[in-house]
Point group: C2
Chain length 198, copies 2
């Protein structure tokens, strides 16, 4: 995030310093969230891990929800796959990517930490936005085959194939389980009489 690609013509040393500070704090906030949990995400703790003063943190991120938002910026950079138009392959690809994010980014711990923010309005808004963005690729693919209650069910069902084992048992599904889930959903989409049959 501090690489040359972020530099623009005319950027000053001051700008570069701010970019670096933001990247350091975002990283420290993410690490605190994943490794120490939701409650630990305070200005004091993030300042300590990032190696900046609390004054600096309060200046740029006045509220705890600002720290939460910056912690989750790492997730926004997460690369979804380009859809190929093959619904089965695209769904399997998205779920495989989701599984990899659980392993690499500890997305299960991010999800569970965010779930504990329900009592705070600003935090809840961030959660809804982040999770909505995270589900969007699966929603877009499934919209080709489903609508209404079936669409909502299918989105939660496919999210659940990765989310439930990781949140409930700390495991991730094997390839054959992901494929079985996609086939169960698509078999229904392909049923006789479905106007959006695939």
């Amino acid at each position: 995030m501090t690489s040359g690609r972020d530099r623009r013509a005319g950027e000053t040393a001051e700008d570069a310093r701010i970019v670096r500070t933001r990247a350091d704090v975002a990283r420290a906030a993410f690490d605190v969230l994943v490794e120490e949990g939701s409650e630990a995400l305070t200005h004091a703790r993030v300042a300590e891990r990032a190696g900046y003063s609390k004054t600096t943190l309060y200046k740029h991120w006045p509220a705890r929800s600002d720290l939460a938002a910056t912690a989750l910026e790492a997730l926004r950079d997460f690369q979804h796959r380009e859809p190929t138009g093959d619904i089965r392959a695209d769904l399997i690809g998205e779920l495989t990517t989701f599984r990899q994010a659980v392993l690499d980014l500890r997305l299960d711990r991010v999800l569970s930490a965010m779930a504990q923010w329900a009592t705070l309005d600003t935090m809840r808004q961030i959660r809804t936005e982040i999770n909505g963005e995270g589900q969007r690729p699966i929603r877009n693919i499934l919209q080709q085959a489903f609508e209404g209650a079936e669409l909502e069910a299918a989105i939660s069902m496919l999210s659940g194939v990765v989310a439930c084992p990781s949140l409930m048992f700390g495991t991730v599904p094997d390839d054959d389980v992901i494929e079985a889930a996609v086939d169960i959903v698509l078999h229904h989409a392909g049923r006789a009489g479905n106007p959006r049959s695939v």
Copy 2:
């Protein structure tokens, strides 16, 4: 839990006091977990909420994992429905009961709090046991129609219909979404050539 039903012949006043203490502490530990989160589940905080001394708590529940186990006893008492043998009705019934537990017991907050215990061995064992028990009725019903990877996929998918909206967005699914999910799964089970076709 302190009602006459728990009394046995020959029970002394001392026994009754212990039963009441256990019920009070279990209740306070559950409330701390749901309302204040995983990190707040300490001997000091539970003692304060239950109105007992820390000494009493350490005597009966020496480790934090003992407090966690007692907090989750409330979930063990949770009544699952008696299966009727009608797979569709039984699955819809289980998911409706799960949804009600999210609303009444804040099961979503319990799940997310437990998800943050991944780093502690004893806590992780308790989580695995509790979540395994919670999924057992759905597993038992689905075993009538699925096996192998399809069974694991179907269990996570149906759990996800309730768990994903509540954990990700703080909402619960409508009846028609639950019914659509069950129909998607059972339509696949009823496909031509399935040896366990329902």
